[in-house]
Symmetry: D2
Subunit: 374 residues, 4 copies
């Protein structure tokens, strides 16, 4: 079929993210002309039976119950980390030590310090590395970034971002690791990390934050819940723009509803994930007769990623973000760089931690309190 | 035509609000069977030529350049205050001293202290009194309140409210009183007061706030601008619910876009003003097969106010809020009480002031710091 | 208050349309600077008690049980006909014979022949005359017409129009005149007449039609229903454009949902009545990067009618169509002409009749079969 | 990885549909636990260079310039036909003669007679066979069908379907096979076939049609265009329901916008493809306080297909229809039956042909005129 060089991929973790990343590698070569072909060599997980089933389903050649095996196999060049956040840093560092390229799911770690260390270790190792902010790979969001960069909204004044779900609304949902802060769980990090990444990418550095957090169901299965279920945040950007964030998992009939909006001196851009193939744009300099926002159908061949897919109007879904992510990485194989990298993962983590501290201490927190290097 | 008793109305101020309130009195008797008929006796304004023109246009019998004349005329029973906020308190107090019923536009005053005094004065005078939170009179928002009260969302956990406009985006807009804090101007009070009123009405008392404000164009026409152009706020409600507010007048192609949403233990309700005849509702207990939000067409005869108007589906607009407001007041003539009253106006003012202080001092502010009585 | 000349108005019929028209005259002088002031002199209806109540509610000075009195009163200059369609022609003709200006609700008559005669009689009488196609007076639809006329969609290729309601869905709704063809009732004429008027206005003459009609509940209260409950139609316009119409009153949870769309060589325009303050526009020549439709907020001061009303973004409703209609007529008092006139009413009727015949005979019908003069 | 039996697939045609079907087979085993594993053995196309490139890209093991080779290879069990419609019947029949299972893209043929013959040939051969109505495999449309079958809209009264695109709007698009009727091209068949399939599936048999067609650009590249660019149709269903269809490729800024709606005695269901993860439902028996349509997020685990994919709210796209189609077929391997089968393809073709005849002859056409067997 093809004489392209193969790149061995090992996936650590076989849950939803493991499945999504495997999907990405499976489909990527079919949508873009890549310089190499990924082979899913191995997947790991502690439950042997489950990981064996996952390997068969995801199309991975072998499985193991020991993630260290993934990291050390000579036929694996890319280690893809899809485990709970509290375990990321150790795996990432081990992979980098073996000279493997690393893609790590977000958030990068349970604490900023661990995230920063992991980012520094991979940078020192000189391996391609990336953090899994997959939503950047949606055509509509990538187009939003491009329109901002091209000046279509002028200087950004305001940022607004909200992520609502109902996953924690029911108080009878039993305790699991998502309710345990030590595992790296928190609503700020789980939902918010994506929004923070988008804000840093589209607007720029965040310098100060104020926040509040609430846990409406403080106990589950007789155990204490120490993660926030809902948090909201005010931020000041380095260039003077102001922003808001809200992430909440107690919103009935809101399955996974996030939106982001920027208002600049020259226009407005808005994206609503429930209508993920659309981007709304208003140009302040347009003739007033056409006053309002345009609904851009973000699937034109001139839009990012869209030419790899279907004719305009057919619609893309969540899955394409993982395919585009894999394609972007493989396209730059073997030298990279990959973007966003683990340093961005650490940067996002510093904002998460500033938000948590601001909520806990009920005061404005400078991001430099967390990240002295800034 | 009718043998109903007449009630004389005098309007102080002939700008947009004067026009809107006059519209309300003109149409109210045609949509509801009232115990009395309003007569627009007099309107006042400092510019004689303009107020004379306004009197003719709005259908007011006489005009005057002196607001004190409105307040003292024996044929005026209701004084309707539509001047800039900094002038409200004095007029309100003078009207109450004359035993007149008072409707005052929002915000009630430039400072909480003045608002509280005005509210106390009218209460002591025992006259019917009201603050102009007209959006409560939209069928969709009144329905939202009713559904909350009837338990359709359970206990409220989260409140979210945003008001976006572009009125201040252009830096070449010349200086006028809207940019002058001493006149009672501020984005928090002008746009935010409505949202705060809705939050207090639908959720309950607010106890703590954190806020940020920004003025992107600090000088206009060579004069310094001392009001916020954009503010965002975190709040804690007395019963533990958490909320967010944003009000901004620098959002391109956003003419007057406000929305409010509550998420409760049993459901979600959401209202978007650009689609003002709709209310979105999701019931957490519904069969999952129908998972999502319903778009309630808030014009059914069973909805508040709607039976006074047109058949379902025809659509209502901004004007009806003033008609409904006038009808609600006249319906309770002469004894009242009117709702929301000036005490609610003062309550809202205390929150505005807490938000301003929280932004100015970059810290969480307890509403009790403003309003000791609470 | 004003020294403008007064114009006496008499309304025949006190149902929903009588109320809506009275509302129009009441508010019109407050939104536009008119050359005259309307006075609601008299309203008529066969049920004395009900019409007396209506007079008081609508603000009409006197009432009568005999419509001929309205027509002959010397203090009435405008006769406004709001009775069931089967009675229109006789009243219109009597009013014209008395030299009165006439506004007649749609449809103009139960049959084309009667409509054509009525139109000719008023034309011969030389009185200002109008047919009540009120939706033309919505800012968004008036803007749609203007954008077409200015060439923003190029040459029109396709027209598409649908009107859905659920008023006849329940088979237990008892028989009344709306189910009786002899009274001028039909879904084609009641809902369709508005769509036909918009099509003729925006696109041009219709020359051929094919249609189907259905009555799903053929009997109510033991009486036979001889009107269509749902009809759909194909049309060919004189200039080669093609179009579709559907009007149906058996659509659950569709209260009054109409939309119209044109597709031209240069663009698309679409209007949805449930979001009546918006007009959607796509320009085929726009940069592909912005591919899609714009949501124009049709309330800008530069849009038709909008400057008479509220600031952009506040929203207008059904009621304004009647106010704008009254203002348009009074603005051209006493000479007229008014637009659309009864001749347009007759033209629309000829299309309705062609549609009915096409459905009854299951064949394409040329409009010239109905209207030989064309 | 797996010990499941393999099923060899050969694809005839390497255009967009060839790519989409290959995608389906590639991903299907990863979303559902299938009894067998597909192997993409071979793909054919007349342009050797292009088909070789396609084979590499789509992940097909071998390629050939001769479709007969695909049909006769012993290691191919499923022949998947993705060529222009005019060539389908011959390939389908050849494949069936070799005992291969057949999936054929729609429309099945250029004429009904050929379609009927092909359907009969495969039926006689007793091989699993299917027609590519992929949109049935969208969760939202599959849910719509299920809700109808479960009685959620009662008896269907009205069907409404529209498909708009702008692919033929520009008169400078050069001539190709899509403008040539002899190749099986027509807007009725290309866009309409999907809508017709959905109507037959959801509502039932169509017995009579009236139609109009237009070709606004009758000549391209100096050649005459003999296909319709825009057609609209009225239909009567066997059970008395009425319906409309419109398909048009001259609609500016409408990329691929189709919607379908049914109105029944008990409710309304509506689907808009541009928001393909939503289904709108209104229950006529609901409490009037909730009057309106619900926006069902058609991605719940309880919805068809959705459990194979991502968590609710993440969004699916066009690609999943082909994956679900492949999975549905492979799940029933080797015995079938597959659904919809080629007989349904022929049934749809009979309606297309009736529509074409009705337009050409400007009269109502009974479907039995085309398909005597009915």
């Amino acid at each position: 079929m093809s004489s392209k060089p193969e790149v061995g991929v090992g996936i650590v973790g076989y849950g939803l993210m493991g499945r999504a990343h495997a999907h990405g590698y499976t489909v990527a070569p079919h949508v873009r002309d890549l310089p190499c072909l990924p082979r899913l060599r191995v997947i790991s997980g502690r439950n042997s039976e489950a990981v064996a089933r996952a390997a068969a389903r995801y199309g991975v050649e072998e499985w193991t119950a020991d993630w260290r095996e993934v990291v050390t196999r000579p036929d694996v060049q890319i280690v893809d980390v899809c485990t709970p956040p509290g375990t990321h840093a150790e795996i990432v560092e081990a992979a980098a030590a073996e000279g493997k390229a690393v893609l790590c799911e977000k958030p990068l770690a349970a604490e900023y310090a661990a995230a920063a260390t992991a980012a520094r270790v991979v940078a020192d190792a000189g391996v391609p590395n990336a953090i899994g902010f997959n939503y950047r790979r949606l055509p509509a969001l990538a187009l939003m970034k491009r329109l901002i960069d091209e000046g279509h909204v002028g200087d950004i004044l305001l940022w607004r971002s909200v992520w609502l779900s109902d996953e924690f609304l029911d108080p009878d949902i039993p305790f699991d690791w998502r309710f345990e802060r030590a595992m790296g769980a928190s609503t700020i990090a789980d939902l918010g990390a994506h929004l923070i990444d988008l804000a840093l990418w589209m607007v720029g550095e965040i310098v100060d934050v104020a926040a509040q957090s609430e846990t409406f169901t403080p106990e589950r299965s007789g155990r204490s819940v120490d993660v926030d279920e809902a948090s909201s945040v005010l931020v000041r950007f380095a260039d003077g723009a102001r922003g808001t964030f809200e992430m909440a998992r107690t919103c009935a009939r809101r399955p996974c509803d996030f939106f982001v909006e920027v208002n600049g001196t020259g226009g407005t851009l808005r994206f609503d994930y429930p209508r993920l193939n659309e981007l709304w744009y208003g140009d302040a300099r347009d003739d007033d007769v056409f006053y309002g926002l345009r609904r851009i159908r973000a699937e034109s061949p001139r839009h990012p990623y869209a030419r790899d897919w279907w004719p305009i109007g057919q619609g893309l879904g969540y899955g394409v973000t993982f395919v585009n992510q894999a394609a972007d990485h493989l396209e730059r194989w073997p030298d990279g760089p990959w973007d966003p990298d683990l340093a961005q993962g650490a940067r996002v983590q510093s904002i998460c931690e500033a938000m948590e501290r601001a909520a806990a201490e009920a005061r404005w927190v400078g991001v430099r309190e967390i990240d002295y290097a800034r």
